[in-house]
């Protein structure tokens, strides 16, 4: 199955896009590479290694944090810009991924496009209402993370198209986010991930987004949990109700790691806890 003949190391996105366009179905992009090595190599003649194409920056713009597609998970976990954007939950999700060795290699873009059910970053990006920027030789388009993760992201990309950047809105005033992973060991695949974003207005919750991962092949937003929060005053009972609503609505698949009943139970508990953490940060009085 391994037809690989060569690697290309483009120095810019434009060069990478040109190589992909010229290679047609015989060239494919390479991010960190973990997934492709484990898959036994690509069904392509040329791998276009994006690691030198200038896509690894993490920067703060006016309203958003910008994660270059080739920024590593470790760089995201340790980025000052992530914290400055009020996105501590994003740093938590990145730090929860696998081990240091793999965080040094896995990239933000690879974690999304090569999506695995237990990937930790995607549910957090769902809760943060991120947008992904895709480029091809023909131009650029932006897709909301909800839409991007509605099917496997690999199938969302058109021929010759690259994920170049993930844009995450800054938390802003009276808002906070948090992430929790539950696994058998700190470096094991998640059995359930929970991510939340909460914005307060006066004493009430004005905006809340909740997402979970590792329960089925794709991460999912929990809209019933969100509905249980809207307009309510944050507190133990409200978070417990949201957790119960989330556990009831979540789609849960079975695999050898845990039964669906166990995962559903985890989902309720983690959603409650992650909401407490996010709301605690929102109430913490971060300057606008």
């Amino acid at each position: 199955m391994n037809d690989l003949e060569q690697f290309a190391h483009p120095r810019s996105v434009e060069e990478a896009l040109a190589l992909l366009a010229a290679g047609r179905d015989q060239a494919r992009p390479l991010a960190g590479g973990t997934g492709l090595v484990l898959a036994g190599g690509p069904r392509a003649r040329v791998l276009v290694d994006l690691s030198r194409a200038g896509l690894d920056a993490i920067s703060l713009a006016a309203g958003e944090l910008r994660l270059g597609a080739m920024a590593t998970i470790q760089a995201t976990a340790r980025s000052r810009a992530v914290v400055d954007a009020g996105l501590e939950g994003l740093a938590e999700a990145a730090a929860a991924c696998a081990s240091r060795l793999l965080r040094n290699q896995i990239t933000v873009g690879g974690n999304l496009v090569g999506l695995r059910p237990w990937a930790d970053l995607p549910p957090m990006l769902l809760a943060l209402d991120a947008r992904v920027r895709l480029r091809s030789a023909g131009g650029e388009r932006e897709v909301g993370i909800d839409e991007f993760l509605a099917r496997h992201p690999e199938r969302q990309l058109r021929a010759g198209e690259l994920l170049v950047e993930v844009a995450v809105p800054r938390a802003g005033a009276r808002a906070g986010c948090a992430f929790l992973k539950f696994a058998r060991t700190a470096v094991d695949c998640a059995l359930c991930d929970a991510a939340a974003f909460v914005r307060l207005d006066g004493g009430a919750i004005r905006e809340a987004r909740v997402a979970v991962g590792a329960l089925r092949p794709l991460p999912q937003r929990l809209r019933a949990a969100e509905a249980a929060l809207a307009g309510r005053e944050p507190g133990e009972a409200v978070f417990a109700a949201a957790g119960a609503a989330g556990a009831a609505e979540a789609e849960v698949a079975a695999d050898f790691r845990a039964s669906p009943e166990y995962r559903r139970e985890l989902c309720g508990v983690l959603v409650r806890r992650v909401l407490e953490a996010a709301a605690g940060r929102a109430a913490g009085g971060r300057p606008s």
Partner: protein, 161 residues
């Protein structure tokens, strides 16, 4: 295909198959400290430094490191002239069968290059991808903290000259 790398400080041109994995290429090049454990990125025994960053070489295509500097334990010290991390691992009894030790030293080297005075918690995080089935994990943490102290003392002595 040809692969140009700097391996333990020496420029090398290696002849590799395009789909080759870095672990195999390094072992074929004589770096037997790089261990084949799980081959899925989970055990950490194959860790090497690529431009100073520790990676699990079993999940890296050799083609990805074109032009990069690779460091294995062979590049850090020898039995006659051991690196302080090696001395500290032996002194702490952090090595039994020895299979995991070279890669742990590699990750510890990256940590100490970045942070000469780490806490035990920093060490745990830096070594979180390494499995040891003999000793447990306490002695390696002691060893890295001891090596950090040795290196700081050596640097202070150097600075005083």
């Amino acid at each position: 295909m040809k692969l140009d790398v700097r391996l333990n400080g020496v420029p090398r041109t290696l002849d590799v198959s395009p789909g080759a994995v870095l672990l195999d290429v390094l072992r074929d090049a004589g770096c037997r400290s790089v261990k084949r454990g799980c081959e899925t990125g989970d055990c950490g025994a194959c860790a090497v430094l690529v431009d100073g960053v520790p990676l699990a070489s079993c999940v890296v295509f050799a083609g990805q490191v074109e032009g990069r500097s690779i460091t294995t334990v062979e590049g850090l010290g020898t039995p006659d002239r051991p690196h302080p991390l090696m001395e500290a691992m032996v002194a702490a009894g952090a090595v039994q069968c020895g299979f995991c030790a070279p890669a742990m030293i590699i990750s510890a080297k990256a940590l100490l290059d970045e942070n000469p005075d780490p806490t035990a918690e920093d060490v745990k995080h830096a070594l979180d991808g390494h499995l040891c089935r003999c000793t447990g994990y306490v002695k390696q943490i002691e060893a890295v903290l001891d090596a950090a102290a040795r290196l700081r003392a050596a640097a202070a002595k150097e600075g005083a000259r």
